[in-house]
Amino acid sequence: MAAKLILSMDGVVINEYPVNKERMTIGRKAHNDIILDNLAVSGEHAAIVTILNDSFLEDLDSTNGLEVNGVVVKKHFMQPNDVIGIGKYSMKYISDQVSQTNPADFEKTMILRAPVKQAVGAAKPAEPANPMSTQIGMAKPVSAEAVEKTGKFGVPPTVETAQAAAPASTAAPQNAAIQILTGPNAGKELDLVKNLTTLGKPGVQVAVLTRRPHGYFITHVEGANFPSVNGQALTDKPHQMNDHDVIELAGVKMEFYFKG
């Protein structure tokens, strides 16, 4: 199991615990998986429930409560590097699952087979305070029995290039704006902050400016007349915008430009 908890107090590491059970308890009493022998800690203070790759922290109605990253929580969906605070103790949650697994694996739809389905189905009537208790039988959740992995095996050669391209797509392209040059709204400026900006009037003439990883494109959507860019009428294909292009749409001229 890739996730672990590092227990420390006053900056000194005390112990390390692998997150290897579907339900781990934290508390003062001896039967807990993580025992914190301190009167500020309740007998059963908190639990960490792991369902496949996701871990959830839950306060078991402790007297003094618990914090994650300095915020008091009752229930929390654990993210890598979260710090759980219980009294004077702090526990850092380390999970390197993302880096260990091929990201493409996550997209493969898989089927949860019947044993798990029953367990999850049975969760519904259970009292909401403790919805995890019905997850028994998932102790080794990623075992072949629980999850039928039926994704594609043949990984196409394009995987690496596509993954290399993925981070680029999250980086937004250069900011851009349009300024209206003629008509009643002349002088108005419109920042293109959305992925899709509509120009024109529905039912009459509409074009959209779309923001894509490699630039901005204008596309004619509806209306008998097509808009023009620098005097050239558009076809029904998207047209990539260049700095200081002038768009004419329904008799209104506007200028497209990049912002520094």
């Binding site: 969906f77 997209e107 019947a114 909401p128 919805p131 391209a165 992925n195 509509t198």
Partner: protein
């Protein structure tokens, strides 16, 4: 009004940026107002086989039955409306075909598929689905999913374990709890919704809604509702621009006018003359 004149239907499917195969299948039977989309899973080409079976069985069987029957008739055995009954029965038939193929041919072992299907009739749409392929509706300004995924994540959301915001970060996005062809019996979830003129229905595989936020799907559909082919193209392009890690398929259905089923002898006679 004949159903094929009342609806505008556009479909598009794309393997995405990473996969070499397209395991999605789509079918549109405009003559009887039926749309079907399936997202297959399984090794080698079994995913395509599963989704292909699901789509062809439902599309062919339903359109065959509706050639000489009206979806508002009652089915004699179940007492259900024929439209609803046909969806239920044929998703079961598809399930049986895939299940048997998977058990008789070793290379297809374990294959399965999700399915979402809409049958438009009498100013309504009957929606049947299994798994995490979705149907969304744009009505005026409002946009949202009208199906609920059969997935682990949705069950976690329902039980309050995880919030909708946190769900975006979950690593369990792709686990479905129900699929066609995995078990001998399947229960499809079927609901009937009223349809309004101007509504746009979007059926999609998870390759779209995993890669593109609902808000972006909404604004795209809203802006491009006057040009459905372009909207379909744009949705797929957005999924691919965001990484396109899965096959992505969309079917768009726009309601251009009402399509109440003819009732009474006079209406039926007019309808008969119009045939």
């Amino acid at each position: 009004m004949k159903i094929e004149d009342a609806l505008e239907i556009v479909s598009q499917t794309n393997p995405g940026m990473v996969r070499s195969h397209n395991e999605d299948s789509v079918a549109c039977e405009a003559a009887c107002g039926l749309v079907v989309l399936a997202d297959g899973m399984g090794g080698y080409n079994a995913g395509e086989v599963a989704s292909g079976i699901a789509v062809s069985v439902t599309a062919m069987e339903i359109s065959r039955r509706l050639k000489n029957a009206s979806p508002i008739e009652r089915d004699e055995q179940s007492g259900e409306e024929l439209g609803v009954f046909l969806l239920r029965e044929n998703i079961q038939k598809a399930n049986a075909s895939i299940f048997h193929a998977a058990h008789s041919q070793p290379q297809y072992a374990g294959m399965g598929t999700t399915i979402v299907t809409g049958l438009f009739y009498d100013n309504r749409v009957a929606v049947g689905h299994v798994g995490d392929s979705r149907m969304y509706r744009l009505r005026g300004e409002a946009f949202g999913s009208i199906t609920r995924d059969h997935s682990l994540l949705q069950e976690q959301i329902d039980s309050g374990l995880i919030s909708v915001e946190d769900a975006r970060n979950s690593k369990n996005k792709n686990l479905v709890t129900r699929a066609v062809g995995i078990d001998a019996e399947i229960t499809a979830e079927i609901h009937v919704h009223d349809v309004q003129v101007g509504d746009i229905y979007l059926l999609c595989s998870d390759g779209l809604n995993d890669m593109v936020e609902d808000d972006d799907i909404h604004s795209t559909l809203y802006a491009m509702q006057g040009n459905l082919p372009l909207a379909a193209e744009q949705l797929i392009q957005m999924a691919n621009d965001n990484g396109g890690r899965d096959n992505v398929s969309v079917i768009l259905v726009k309601v251009k006018s009402g399509f109440a089923a003819p009732r009474g002898w006079f209406a039926r006679m007019i309808d008969w003359f119009n045939k």
